[in-house]
């Protein structure tokens, strides 16, 4: 699939998804999740700018897509089938809501063009009247305010400010950046592969601390399968996935493949 549009052109993950749905000419209520997820991943690999804020928003959606994909691959519990919701349902609702606001904003744009043609005039109150300034009665304005109340309000302002500074993160410094560094994660998997050659997927994931590491490890595995350095075998559904590393060195992957 040729990628003609730059990721920067998209306002966010929802925008990108809508574009993909549009481009694939598929029904929003019946998203072919496997294809769309693949294409989505393809796009986010294009991000070259090291903008962590943007990146993390796109990654969260990537995780959501992969989660939906895995849920759809699971066999349905026949007993519960009726109550079971399509795993895509929530995403579809979000997409529809987002699309609705995009649609409304176009309507607003038209209204703005029309309204811009209406002219107003400055007020022209005669000087002698304008000079009359209503005396604002400070006392009555402040009648409901006590010093204690003012103090309470200020306290809550200060408290909010403190809340905003996440005390734990601010002590850690730049830890987030490492968490989502795909290129490093890929090299770690390669090193692990050189050492163990054949290993269980579950075992690999269990070594990861935190959700972000699991997600990025998963992405790394997908990436290495794609470039032909990993082979996977799963004999039965729910069996452990067994991974064999077929590469022979820790390599620097193409820049395009690096997420961060």
């Amino acid at each position: 699939m040729g990628i003609s549009v730059k990721l920067e052109a998209f306002e966010g993950p929802l925008d990108l998804l809508l574009h993909l749905i549009d481009k694939n000419k598929v029904n929003i209520n019946d998203i072919p999740i496997v294809e769309i997820t693949e294409q989505y991943m393809e796009y986010i690999r294009q991000i070259k700018k090291k903008d962590l804020d943007v990146m993390s928003e796109f990654l969260v959606m990537a995780a959501t897509l992969i989660n939906i994909k895995s849920k759809m691959l699971l066999p349905k519990d026949e007993k519960k089938e009726e109550e079971e919701q399509d795993p895509r349902q929530e995403l579809v609702e979000r997409l529809l809501e987002y699309k609705m606001y995009k649609y409304i904003s176009m309507d607003l744009k038209d209204r703005e063009l029309d309204a811009a043609k209406i002219m107003y005039r400055e007020s022209s109150i005669p000087r002698e009247i304008a000079d009359y300034k209503e005396k604002i009665d400070t006392d009555s304005l402040l009648s409901d305010l006590t010093l204690a109340k003012l103090h309470r309000i200020f306290e809550s302002v200060v408290k909010k400010q403190v809340d905003k500074i996440d005390p734990i993160r601010s002590k850690f410094g730049k830890i987030e950046k490492e968490e989502v560094n795909l290129s490093e994660k890929i090299q770690t998997i390669q090193r692990y592969g050189l050492l163990h050659r054949t290993f269980r997927f579950r075992g690999l994931l269990e070594k990861q601390s935190g959700k972000m590491n699991v997600i990025v490890t998963f992405l790394g595995v997908l990436e290495l399968i794609k470039v032909g350095q990993l082979e996977i075998v799963q004999n039965n559904l729910f069996d452990d996935i067994v991974i064999t590393f077929t590469g022979n060195a820790v390599t620097e992957l193409d820049d395009n493949l690096v997420l961060n």
Partner: protein, 189 residues
């Protein structure tokens, strides 16, 4: 004061003030009750609208303002330079429509719908005076709630928030159908 005189006074008031004037203030100035005053103004609005006039009276959330009719624009640009207004990007329009429909709304809620950080957009909209703080949410951290301003109504030719196009479930259905048709259309091409 007989009605004709009352109308003349209101016309003079709206002309002189230029800005939007709250109904209560107009009523106090012409020394009539609010309901009568509103009726008289609405009557005037109809007349301005129907007659071949170049000006009109618009209602903005319980206030009234005198302005030109949109179709006079061409004549006016011929005589004077009309300053260009700031152009709202699609991102700003998107954020603005969410705020308009969901107000009062917190930044977090806006971000949940858009899927991206929205500080920049919200701040720009505040700077353009289209959006303002309307209070604090009664929740942990007491986040700021945002809503639209009178300038928003004026800039988009909306008379009150109730005047915004309705978004009922059927509308959403229509919208879905439309989107599907769009897709069908593209398939056909």
């Amino acid at each position: 004061m007989e009605i004709k005189k009352l109308e003349a006074a209101i016309e003079a008031i709206l002309f002189t003030m230029g800005e939007a004037v709250e109904l209560e203030r107009i009523a106090a100035a012409v020394e009539h009750d609010v309901d009568t005053t509103r009726k008289i103004i609405r009557n005037m609005m109809d007349r301005y609208e129907g007659e071949n006039r170049g000006i009109q009276i618009i209602e903005l959330d319980g206030a009234f303002q005198m302005c030109t009719k949109a179709e006079m624009y061409d004549a006016i640009v011929k005589i004077t330079h009309v300053p260009k207004k700031h152009v709202l990007t699609d991102v700003l329009l998107e954020t603005l429509s969410i705020i308009a429909y969901k107000q009062p709304i917190t930044k977090l809620e806006i971000e949940a719908i858009r899927g991206v950080k929205s500080d920049h957009s919200v701040n720009k909209l505040i700077e353009y005076n289209l959006v303002c703080e309307v209070g604090r949410m009664d929740a942990p951290g007491r986040p700021i709630l945002f809503g639209t301003t009178e300038d928003f109504l004026r800039s988009f030719g909306i008379h009150s928030l109730e005047d915004l196009p309705v978004l009922n479930p059927e509308k959403l259905e229509d919208f879905k159908l439309e989107a599907e048709e769009e897709i069908q259309l593209k398939l056909d091409v």
